[in-house]
Amino acid sequence: MSLPERQTDVGPPHFEKFLPPVIKENYGKWKSHEVLTPGTMVHTAESGDQIHTVRIASPRILATETIREMCDLAEKYCGGFIRFTTRNNVEFLVSDKAQMDPLVAELKEKGYMVGGIGPGISNVIHTQGWVHCHGACTDASGIVKAMMDEFHEYFTTKTLPNKVRLAVACCVNMCGAVHVSDIAVVAVHRKVPAIDDENVGKMCEIPTVIGSCPTSAIRPNPKDKTVTINEEKCMYCGNCFTVCPPINIHNPEHDGVAIVVGGKIGSLRTSPKFSKLAIPFLHNEPPRWPKVVDAIKNILDVYAANARKHERVGEWIERIGWEDFFKLTGIEFTFQHIDDFTFMRDTLRTSAAFKY
């Protein structure tokens, strides 16, 4: 069978082809919206026209069979108009209001989770993990599944003081937005990489390998056409592994995850914030990572009980102070919490006023 003629540099199709007529007509002329339930909302335009949205969760990894099933539902209830959100939820764009409730009913009947809107927990931004990436030192999808089995009510019904954005990254490259999430899991190494001397010489450009190390821990070893690593300087970032595979950073015994908290994207009230270290290390415990889930549940519960309405996790912690955060959550404060890398100057305390 012959293939169609390829084209280059055509880019993606223009989005206009995929907009429901009511959106096309009111593009840029929306006036307000109302969240009806955690899974439904209605946007109203200046003209008075309305579009109803129904949002469902997705595991992000989707089989084409599931996509087709969603498409069938979209055809049945909303003219086939369907979109995805930046957090990997799926949205049905319903122009005929009467179709919304039956759509929700059928979605629930089929086992889909309707929700994700408003002050709760939306879908979890995450990365490839053992499912697909060579760098992964945990499985992102597995942790997400275990977490959300526990927290799903915050997606569908329960609310929190404000949105809590969760994320999971399977290595410090963080192909997500872990460094600015309310609560996030990031996989970390704790051991200096092992060097396969013979292959380093064959496969890698030595100057590039040396240049890749942020702490200048890597020295050339010209005699054996390889490199050596200064154990005292290495902080296990894995960048040398990225540029040179024979430098193996993986160590299943010692790899695991850290939990970071208090990051924020929006500029609402306070500036965007980085997430900061709460728990330096928990072991990988597949398939359900119970200690990770418990640790997050603890932080969530303490936040829910103590934060003021509209306060994000990071805003709440800044108001009460980090010393109180550790006290309230019972999380142990360790040497690892004190920055000794690029941000040390900004993070040590420079005042005699603090709490116990």
Partner: protein
């Protein structure tokens, strides 16, 4: 310079550097412009792109960064070019 001549020189340069240094497009522009004052970036770029389009030269990826290389026989077979 004729496009063909430029392409031959690019190819020779890539062959010479093979296994020594991974070249980026920009390294090739710089080298060609240094050797031939009359050449500008766009002329070299056009010549190089024409080579890439037919698989005489290819983009490669390794060590976290992209570079330009002479394709392996395996690649050429895969693309039905030899």
């Amino acid at each position: 310079m004729e496009e063909k001549e430029i392409q031959d020189e690019i190819f020779a340069y890539l062959e010479k550097m093979k296994g020594k240094k991974k070249l980026k497009e920009k390294d090739i522009y710089k080298k060609m412009m240094a050797d031939h004052a009359e050449l500008d970036k766009n002329t070299v770029k056009t010549a190089l792109r024409a080579m890439i389009n037919v698989g005489k030269v290819m983009y490669s990826y390794g060590g976290g960064a992209s570079s330009v290389e002479i394709p392996s026989e395996e690649y050429l077979k895969e693309k039905g070019l030899i």
